[in-house]
Symmetry: C2
Subunit: 601 residues, 2 copies
């Protein structure tokens, strides 16, 4: 019997015990994290589907799994023989989860989910639909826990304190700033479940999620005292002392719901509570709503942590310099090795990963390295597996998107590298992509601009020839934290009611245009750029960007004949700066190669 069918049978038996007709699961964790630890891979365990953006409903006799277009082929393969129906999100006549619930959950039936895994807004909507359908809705039950025997443990890696020498700002100072906002909002408490916000405020780190140096935790900030919830195993005496010295009480991770529940003797929350309803789960939300008045506001730490302080910027510059050395050495290596060796995408990823591991202060990769050769480069979220692992040839291009976590900061960089002869269209697309990346980085603009103002500077060289890339141009990056961080970003599309964050000096963002030609090749060039002050005059405060990334552009992929003088200057200027930053970190052979690679066009 297919093991998935066995697991579903166990799940259904327990559903029957609990008198549940439909059980709803998602790929999220309790903190609405972008990446999750194995403990939370419930959908994967019960469906066999390993992709992302997954929603899963199991009924007594049927089961339905939703995912988006990036994963249709993979899902069809992985769901084969499981009896699970694939629901292709966005396709015509495929209902959304909400529509499905509305149309299928009948009067008298019971629909259930673990509300800690579901957002407050979506969970409330599901509750309402059930009410309209006259169905019961149980919003806090973890059925998988009872029938997933070899479920991985909740992670509890050791938490450590980052010194002020590294963070540039004490927890005391950060809490002060947040309490000032609480005062303005006349709030008694501030509730946080976003892991990167909590880590940033407390200057703590751990390794609970792969590539994300965070600890599963909650934080409740009162007017004078705060409460930190984490696994006992993860908290050593050093951390306890540190918390103590900041007037922060430690509590066990699993006691968070008690702290929110007005009927529990250990409850904390009352009065007015500031929180972001878009990042809280529905179970916690319902408890807080019953105990206190909710003041909906984005976490102040979202904005505070996005503006890097001087210490962070100094360390980041070092991190990006050393990280760029890895990328530069990798490019030199692969261009030579391909001439003599048989290499695969995984070999390429391993090589650059190993270079990073040797950098002093290396902690982890900042995400699994994307290494896509030829047509695989055109898959934006490509993740190489033993099955897909392509053999590289001395022709065409490989796209490598990678980064590291160091005690100096978090990096993210993409280079597309030619391995031999390339076509004219590859050169055309690469050249225009490079010009887009460099033009945006060169922008000078008035304070008050958001990503929606600036995005076109990067896309224009591609748009002018009728080409687009279907992803954002840029995202913020954490400091020894998540590689994707808000609130700032670079996107162009207008969405009704969307919030936009203006660029502030000290913010860092990726600048990553690309061209993806299906079944042929993919190009992406990604630098991280730092927002800095430019001139202040009667017209206002102008801002600009500085490159943090210094890895060479591929000379063999640049078509000089289509460049204007200004554009040639733009490339020459960047390439010269790469040579200057890198030359002392390289072997003689590498240095000589880089000199010719970055020589004036």
């Amino acid at each position: 019997m297919n093991p998935i069918r066995e697991r579903l049978a166990l799940l259904r038996r327990e559903m029957k015990n609990e008198k549940v007709d439909w059980y709803y699961m998602t790929g999220s964790d309790y903190h609405n994290s972008e990446y999750v630890s194995d403990y939370f891979k419930i959908c994967e365990h019960f469906s066999g589907f390993t992709g992302e953006n997954v929603y899963f409903i199991v009924g007594v006799e049927s089961a339905y799994l939703w995912t988006d277009g990036r994963f249709f082929i993979q899902a069809e393969k992985e769901l084969k023989d499981t009896g699970i129906t694939l629901m292709k999100m966005g396709e015509e006549n495929v209902p959304t989860v909400k529509e499905f619930v509305k149309n299928n959950i009948k009067s008298g039936e019971t629909f259930a989910f673990n509300g800690r895994l579901i957002s407050a807004s979506f969970g409330s909507e599901l509750e309402k639909i059930c009410e309209v359908n006259n169905a019961d809705c149980i919003n806090l039950i973890d059925i998988p826990e009872k029938v997933w025997n070899d479920r991985p443990c909740k992670p509890a890696t050791e938490i450590y304190v980052l010194s002020e020498e590294i963070t540039g700002e004490s927890t005391e100072s950060k809490l002060d700033k947040i309490r000032r906002v609480m005062d303005e909002e006349n709030c008694d408490y501030h509730y946080l479940s976003k892991l990167d916000d909590i880590m940033w405020i407390l200057n703590l780190r751990a390794a609970d999620i792969e590539c994300n140096p965070v600890a599963l935790s909650y934080l409740i900030i009162g007017k004078e005292k705060a409460f930190f919830f984490a696994d006992k195993k993860a908290v050593n005496s050093n951390v306890l002392n540190y918390l103590n010295s900041n007037n922060i009480e430690y509590r066990e991770y699993d006691h968070i719901l008690d702290a929110l529940n007005k009927d529990c003797k250990d409850h904390i929350i009352s009065g007015r509570v500031m929180l972001d309803v878009n990042s809280i789960d529905v179970s916690s939300y319902n408890l807080i709503k019953a105990a206190a008045e909710i003041v909906n506001k984005k976490n102040p730490s979202l904005y505070l942590k996005s503006v890097k302080n001087e210490t962070e910027i100094k360390r980041l510059k070092k991190a990006y310099e050393l990280d760029s050395v890895c990328v530069t050495k990798f490019i030199y290596w692969i261009k030579n090795a391909i001439k003599n060796e048989t290499l695969t995408e995984i070999d390429a990823a391993d090589y650059i990963d190993n270079l990073r591991r040797k950098v002093p202060g290396f902690l982890d990769l900042s995400f699994p390295t994307i290494s896509g050769y030829g047509p695989n480069g055109a898959i934006v979220h490509y993740s190489v597996s033993e099955e897909s692992n392509a053999v590289l040839k001395p022709e065409g291009m490989i796209l490598v998107d990678s980064g590291g976590q160091y005690d100096m900061g978090t990096t993210d960089v993409t280079r597309t590298v030619s391995l031999g002869p390339v076509t004219d269209s590859m050169k055309l697309h690469y050249t225009k992509t490079a010009i887009g990346m460099l033009t945006l980085a060169k922008a000078k603009f008035l304070e008050g601009c958001t990503g929606r103002n600036l995005d076109i500077l990067c896309r224009a060289p591609l748009w002018n020839m009728g080409v687009d890339f279907k992803h954002g141009t840029g995202h913020g990056v954490g400091f020894i934290l998540n590689v994707h961080e808000g609130p700032q970003n670079l996107r162009w599309k207008f969405l009704e009611g969307m919030e936009e964050a203006v660029f502030k000096p000290g913010m860092i963002t990726s600048d990553e245009p690309g061209v993806y030609i299906e079944n042929q090749y993919g190009i992406r060039i990604e630098n991280i750029i730092l927002c800095v002050k430019d001139v202040l005059n009667e017209f206002g405060q102008f801002l600009g960007f500085e490159h943090l990334t210094y890895a060479p552009l591929d000379r063999d992929l640049i078509d000089v004949s289509i460049l204007s003088n200004t554009e040639i200057d733009l490339i020459n200027e960047y390439q010269a700066s790469v040579y200057e930053k890198m030359k002392d970190h390289l072997t003689k052979e590498e240095e000589e190669w880089l000199k010719s690679e970055t020589a004036k066009l």
Copy 2:
């Protein structure tokens, strides 16, 4: 005695009769129009202030007039010896109107205004403040009417029908489209007070407001029947027959409030009424709210009329061609005349106005011509008067912003013209302004872009040297209608909750960057551009722009040494197209001059 003091004494006598302690007035008309007829210039009559953006509160012993920074100097001069206190909007420690009302209207006092002149949102706020202060609020009383003896008549110029040959779409078809939206919103009525929307829907025009070919009117659209309110004197039998044939009942303009009032026997409105609460006055709003359920929605005509149809576009192209001939002839004339004659700003304005008057199909100017020489060019909303009228010298630059109303459409164009020697900084700023204007017009972008995406293409050449202009980059333009029209515009600043309109093929917008150096000079270059379809491919539908305006750039103001090859091509291409479009409309001397003016750089 100062005549303003006499008028205020009369106003206060009537206030006493009506037991009103404070009377509030604005510069608006009943339709929230940008420009108003003399009938509505109440603030001007009772204060002597002739500027714009004015709010005026008269108390028993004191009086306060608000305006913004553009008009401080003028207001100080005009309010001298009137006893009226100038309230400088935006200056520190100057309360807003709302703050003033909150702090000064005392318990038991009566605050009054004519609610037909005040927006629903602002009027409701004033009512609430009075309630909190325990003061009475009379929201529908026209005290000026009783004491303004020589008040101009409400305009009632003859209304005329535009044939479908001109408009390209029948009223029947336009009403159909609007009724489809009413159906979607399940509405029984749609109430309109915006004059340009009403004129567009009904294919009617008049001349009630200078430069704006509209009639004071209201329109109520029912599911099958509609009601048009206008002055009896303005409606001839031809118009009556036309209305009849479209199942539109004519009613007297002054009966509009009765039609909204559920206690009047002639009332129309009931059920669900679709209207835009941001464009309705508070008196009408209160009446409708009492009689029906309000469905707040932007007028569908706002969007429909912004996308010009094929007939309109064909006529607009002709209008802009002939209008550009006027501008080209004017430039040739002034550059030569200045050598021999003594000319003033008014002479220049008169000359171009007279050229337009000779164009077949000329109806009116589209706004009073702005003619600013030297430092006057730096005043963005400069309006030349006998007092300010500068004498032109054979040096420096004159800025002329002007346009016409023709039976082919509405035009708007700005050129800055050198009259002799100019400085390097004038040339630098003119050249960068020209490049900004042409770069935006050359943009290619995906459908879905709004003005906030595109604006930076125009500003970048200026921003890159730390210069900005403090006005929008572009606005829509009506078709034989108001020169400023929404919903699309070109601006960069993000305002919380703002709505943005995406560009659609058929929309036209101004493209008008500038540089303003206080007390020295002003530069603005304005073309009108038409949004058109570009390629449709796997990446989506690309859009672009076409120039409608073909008036030459000033060769003497272009500094070739700072231009890249691409930028030189951009200017050469535009100048060549100007010569091609204009050459057959000119005298031999003009044509020869234009040929050398537009020759390749």
